[in-house]
Structure formats: C-alpha cells, structure tokens
C-alpha cells in the first residue's frame, strides 16, 4: 500500500554540508523527522559534489518516515557557472553583469529539463532565458 503524504519540502543547500542548523532544522523538525538521519543520508549521497548547491526534495509521510530525491542545481547556479560570474546583478533588469550564449542556455536546459514543467527543450530554454535576464545576463547568439 502506498504511503500517505504529509508534506513536501525542498531544501536548497550545499552538497555534503547538511547539519541541524537553519534552514534544515526548522524545515524538518516541525514535521517530526529525524534531523540527523536526514543530514547523514544527504551528506553521504552528495559527498562527491562538494561546492555545488544540490537541492533535496523531501517527502514526509504520515507515519513519520521520509524519503528524498536530489534535484539538479538551481538555474541561477548553473548560469553563474556558465557565465563565469560570482553573483547576479543586484539591480537587474537595470544592470548587466555578463553574457551567456544560446548554446550555453541549451546545455543548462538539458540538465534542468526533468525538474522543470516545460513541454519541450525550447520551453525550458525560454524559462532559463527569463532567469538569466533577471540576473542581469545578456543573451547572445555566440
């Protein structure tokens, strides 16, 4: 019999560095799940991706048990990596901090498409272009 879902929580956190401090503690303790159990499992599964933000989507069940899946890094993280910048514009859309090519946008769309609700790769690319503009990135052909 399938388990009944109580809550779904996504955590955008650093690979291999989960601990009971915020945001993990408050997000999970309110649902009564074993904080250390989650942290240890997350750290084990992300230990080869140190330095990346690896979001975890946690499904918490009525009986107090839980499961989680790892998601692709945030679009912004992948865009910053591709554009070679440390942070997005603080005054976007009024400020431009870098450039990104359509080819790079397509590569990011390939990574992200399973986690996005886009119909096809073009739809995923349009969403990513939107995020790029919000961050102050200019989209160029080559």
């Amino acid at each position: 019999m399938a388990k009944k879902v109580k809550a779904i929580v996504k955590l955008a956190i650093q690979a291999g560095k989960a601990n009971p401090a915020p945001p993990i503690g408050p997000a999970l303790a309110q649902h009564g799940i074993n904080l250390m159990g989650f942290c240890k499992e997350y750290n084990a599964r992300t230990s080869n991706r140190i330095g990346e933000i690896v979001p975890a989507e946690i499904t918490i069940f009525q009986d107090g048990s839980f499961k989680f899946i790892l998601k692709s890094p945030p679009t912004s993280f992948l865009l910053m990596k591709a554009a070679g910048i440390q942070k997005g514009a603080s005054r976007a859309p009024l400020e431009t901090v870098g450039k990104i090519t359509r080819k790079q946008i397509r590569e990011i769309a390939e990574v992200k498409k399973d986690d996005m609700n886009a119909i096809d790769i073009e739809g995923a690319m349009r969403q990513i272009e939107g995020t790029a503009r919000q961050m102050g990135l200019e989209i160029v052909e080559n």
Partner: protein, 304 residues
C-alpha cells in the same frame, strides 16, 4: 543562545526559484521551499499534484547586521517586483532550540542485535535483565541509534568486542558506539570527533551510562591519534565513504594492531567496492559486509 530571524514569502511555484536565488546569499546555509495545500492523508506517494502555492523560508542571525540584511533583501525584492508581483515578506524570531527539541517526540527505544537496548533519556522503558542498556540524549550531535549505519555498527560491535580490549571510535558523535563498546567489556575506548559538541555530548552520555572511567573523548582528527603512536585492538569508524577513503590514505591502518578488527560504516552499497579497495591499500583485509537497506558496514581485519 543565538536567535534567528525567519523570512517567509508565500508565492507560486514559478516565482519561488527566483526568490530563492536572490535570498540565497543572505541566508544561513540555504533555503527551504515547502509546498502548501497538502491535506494530510489525502495523497498517496507519487500522486501529489504540482504546487500552486509554496512558502520560501530563509534564516539569518539576529545580530548587529540583521537590520541591513533585511533592508538589502527588501531592496532586491523591490527590483524583482518590477518583473513579477512579489509577496510581502513575513518575519518572525526563532530560538535556536525550537527544532532541536521538536523532533524528539519521534525518538523511541530501539532493540538491536541480541542484547543491545537503546533508550532515549526522556523515555521510561522496561529493559530485560540481560540487556545492555544505553541511555542517550543525542542533543545536536550525530548518532542516535535510529540510523541504519549506527545500528549496523552496534551489531558488529556486539559480535567483535572482547573483554579488556583497547577500542578507538573515530567520529564518535553522541558517543553511542563508544558507550556500547565499553558496556560490552572494552577496557578503554578513545572517542575522537572534529566537532567539540560531540566531545562534550560523548562525555555527558558516558557519565549517564556509568562508563565515564572507560571512555576518553577528544576533539581532534586521525592525525592527532597517529601522533600518540597508540594502537588499538578494535577501531570503529562511522562517518562517510569519502572520509574513510581519505583516512585510509592518511594512515588509518597504523592505528590498528596486527590481528586487530575494524568496523567501517556511513556508506551506501554503491560505494562499498571503492572503500574496500582503499582498505586493502591501507593494509586491511575486508572480511564481511553487513547490510540494512542501501547502507553498508564493512568488517575488516589486519594481518597478524
């Protein structure tokens, strides 16, 4: 005791990622995004519809920089609002202890192996006369007895600890494995952890369990243990595959006397081959694997 300022924004799934990426640099260790509108018990696993509303939460310390952080966040939300309607952020103060206590309600006595009985300090439970009872208050350190790797290590300790042995527990956490080894007859257990909270909690738990004389807890690393030149009859390492492999390269093998027994866990099945290869390089001979779900404990010994 530090206090945190929680910022919460209720929004739709589309805006959530944009908000999260803007808030990320200001918030401690990341953000949580909780799906709203899930009626408890209404959905089976896999059937929950995509979110129509979510709440994005982040935390920063209530300190002298808090006001400027808050002002900066509001300024950035103002810019985002030009592209997409932004919700008004809600703030509240959160004590550091709220969540540390909240999850305890889910923590129950656990019976493991043949005789090991783990009892949370705040729970009254009847043990059998022959039980080896470990009473624990895990606090904020790892090792609560409910995690599969802790259970695998406890079962392995029950099989391998012999009276009078010298034992090393690397990454001792709450001290649960050190206490079990002491109660199973070890003459002395050295518990080492890089986290000073773990050292303190191990000392407290050893005292509660009446084995403080047999356990020494230290803050430190494998390097510190190697510097003493001491060797052990049994070593237990319950951390992570990557850390165990790295320890193998840094001389873990030298801590174990010839003929001694090692128990290594904190790894999943797909990592076991790699860990065993590192163990062989470090002079260990892997002899058995214990499994619980995807989790593995490796038993190994050193050639006599």
């Amino acid at each position: 005791m530090p206090r945190w300022i929680e910022i919460a924004l209720t929004t739709d799934g589309e805006a959530a990622e944009a908000i999260a990426q803007e808030l990320y640099p200001f918030c401690h260790q990341g953000l949580s995004i909780e799906q709203l509108g899930i009626m408890p018990g209404a959905w089976d696993d896999g059937d929950v519809p995509p979110p129509t509303a979510v709440v994005v939460r982040g935390y920063f310390l209530e300190d002298e920089r808090a006001e400027s952080t808050r002002a900066e966040i509001e300024r950035i939300l103002g810019y985002l609002n030009m592209m997409y309607p932004m919700p008004t952020p809600e703030y509240r103060l959160v004590d550091d202890e709220d969540w540390a206590e909240a999850w305890k309600a889910n923590y129950h006595p656990v019976r493991l192996g043949r005789r090991i009985f783990i009892r949370p300090l705040w729970v009254e439970a009847e043990a059998e006369p022959q039980d080896i009872v470990i009473s624990l208050d895990p606090g904020m350190a790892f090792g609560t007895g409910t995690h599969p790797t802790t259970q695998l290590c406890l079962e392995a300790l029950e099989d391998h600890v012999k009276p009078g042995q010298q034992v090393l527990d690397l990454g001792c956490g709450s001290g649960i494995l050190a206490i079990a080894a002491a109660k199973l007859g070890a003459a002395h257990v050295l518990g080492v952890d890089i986290d000073d909270v773990a050292r303190r909690v191990t000392d407290e738990n050893a005292a509660v369990n009446g084995v403080a004389q047999q356990i020494t807890a230290r803050t430190g690393t494998l390097e510190d243990v190697l510097a003493t030149g001491q060797t052990f009859d049994l070593i237990v390492v319950n951390i992570l595959a990557r850390v165990i492999i790295s320890m193998c390269q840094q001389g873990l093998g030298q801590t174990l006397r010839p003929g001694g027994q090692a128990i290594l866990s904190g790894l999943i099945l797909e990592q076991a081959d790699e860990v065993e290869a590192a163990l062989r390089q470090a002079g260990f001979i892997p002899t058995a694997r214990r499994l619980q779900g995807d989790w593995v404990a490796i038993e190994a010994h050193k050639v006599a």
